[in-house]
Point group: C2
Chain length 343, copies 2
């Protein structure tokens, strides 16, 4: 059953109005401000129809209507205007993007923070785990004669480090031998290719520095394991507090806790911005929240999803437009960084 043009216009006007003001909207306001030249009574009839069709609902009989989740869905799919980014927004996004490109491993953390600032909603970024993680490079540095810092670069472009203490002093020369050996034996191997035999062999070959091998390999294994998992960052957690639908602290906390759990957040792996409204999120704590999300960096080792979480009454047009622009920019930067040519 498809809606007539007039019903669509009225529905759109109601939702626009409700998104802006957050209060049930009555027939009078729509009659006046919608541009349609109709009396409140006519609007009322149409509203009644829209309610029967499931697009609107009435908190109580003597109050205006608010959109149902189905109503929002239709709005998002077919009714809402594209939001034209303001210059301020564009500038803020561009600036946000430049911020952290220097330090790739901090990038995503920063991105989710910037996006939170931009939209005033809580955001999350999921860095997708890769199935085949390996260590690209080991690098050992001597801090003092008995302290070694091990830096390793994974195929996911994580750079991780760990400190090791030795019982005896070691020299730069010894260390560089160990360094070379680690890079020969343990780079570009996925976790399942590293077995105890290999570790033993390395240990034996290295003489007295052999004791360093197991802790280093262990740490490497940890890095690889973590690299295989999705990694989630949350930005602007406290921002949901500024929205009236989360005036109730318990509700706010439930949502925040769920997000901080870092599980069950929507992940995209195709182009474009996705919107999940209320119960469309298949997670109970999100049943009265909406998530706007999209994928970035597809094809690069840093691919992932950036999402914005807010109340169902959210300015979808604006948020989606912002996210879209942000994603496009981020994508471009990542492609340049990882030298992926457009085909």
């Amino acid at each position: 059953m498809s809606l007539g043009e007039r019903k669509r216009k009225i529905l759109k006007a109601i939702i626009d109005e409700y998104i802006e003001h957050g209060e049930p909207v009555g027939s009078k306001v729509i009659a006046m401000h919608s541009g349609l030249d109709l009396s409140p009574a006519t609007i009322r009839n149409e509203m009644s129809d829209l309610e029967n069709m499931g697009y609107l609902q009435q908190p109580h009989v003597s109050s205006g209507r608010i959109p149902s989740q189905a109503g929002y869905r239709l709005y998002v799919d077919e009714l809402m205007n594209g939001h034209k980014l303001t210059n301020t927004e564009i500038e803020a996004i561009n600036q946000g993007l430049q911020l952290k490109m220097k330090e790739l491993d901090e990038l995503i953390r920063g991105v989710s923070r910037v996006m939170a600032q931009l939209t005033n909603y809580t955001t999350y970024a999921v860095v997708s785990g890769a199935s085949e993680v390996c260590i690209r490079k080991f690098d050992l540095m001597l801090v003092d004669s008995r302290t070694v810092v091990v830096v390793m670069l994974s195929s996911r472009h994580d750079i991780r480090n760990t400190y090791l203490k030795t019982a005896f002093p070691i020299t730069e020369e010894e260390l560089s031998v160990l360094n070379r050996m680690l890079n020969q034996l343990f780079t570009n191997l996925t976790l399942d290719k590293i077995d105890m035999l290999l570790v033993r062999r390395a240990e034996r070959e290295m003489g007295r520095l052999g004791v360093l091998v197991p802790p280093i390999v262990n740490f490497a294994a940890e890095v690889m394991e973590e690299g295989a998992e999705n990694n989630v960052y949350v930005g602007g957690a406290s921002r949901i507090l500024s929205h009236p639908e989360y005036r109730d602290t318990a509700k706010a906390q439930k949502l925040l806790d769920f997000i901080s759990e870092r599980k069950g957040l929507s992940v995209a792996d195709d182009e474009g911005v996705h919107i999940a409204i209320g119960r469309e999120n298949n997670a109970e704590p999100l049943s009265d929240a909406s998530v706007v999300y999209g994928s970035y960096g597809k094809g690069t080792p840093m691919q992932g999803t950036l999402g914005i979480v807010g109340p169902v009454r959210m300015d979808y047009a604006k948020v989606a437009a912002n996210l879209n622009y942000f994603l496009t920019g981020l994508d471009k930067l990542l492609r340049e960084t990882f030298s992926i040519e457009e085909e």
Copy 2:
């Protein structure tokens, strides 16, 4: 004017009771549960005195008393019982400490998270800036023929990295020359010792790899600058929401915003646990919050302060005991790591 023993006992009983239940306490409860063998009427007289002395206050005339900030101060200084850590707490702390000792630069972030989990309050950790920061080591890695990762280790034991792209392919050999040169020229220099002449000279000497010198030195300068600043991490931001005094979202947000500002938080540099109650914090947004904080790692490059922020009605005994134990453990670990012997 010093308090008689009986008044002290009554005051202690009142504050204990109030901390536990959060509601104004009346004379009856104290008469029954305080162990003192006195009638409510007597208690009332004493309470009246205590109010005149400024240790208690009455929300309204027909309600029980609550402690004033001065009352809490006295309680904290002289009245409260030491809290004996439970086995569960000890275990949780020990586990929390081991968690991240491997990765020093992640350590403090982790510490503040663990402490938040432990106490169910919002926490912060300030890593003190050092006045004389320098780069200890540079380390260059070739990711692919035109991408270099620069890793640098600062005297603050920050390990930071940045990605550089070159217009032309470079070899391992070239890179190791650059690496050696950077380590010779730019390590162990504070920021004020690095001038353009030095950079120019290095640039010239390096031939075609010279173009890499300025961005690397710039980044190093950034790292040094940041190392001179205090660095603040916040843990468990959403936890204040679980305390009834922050049922009011606006209030909660004001406090959270202040903490996230990362400025004006109390820093300690002597032994032991400090407690600042309400307006004792010299920051307006903290005027009805309390901060329990203490210093760790004194003498190591990672020294700083760990603090817990909560409502004035806080279980000081428990929080202080937990923090104290945590700080001691952390301190010990840091001293071992940085090989500082006890004198």
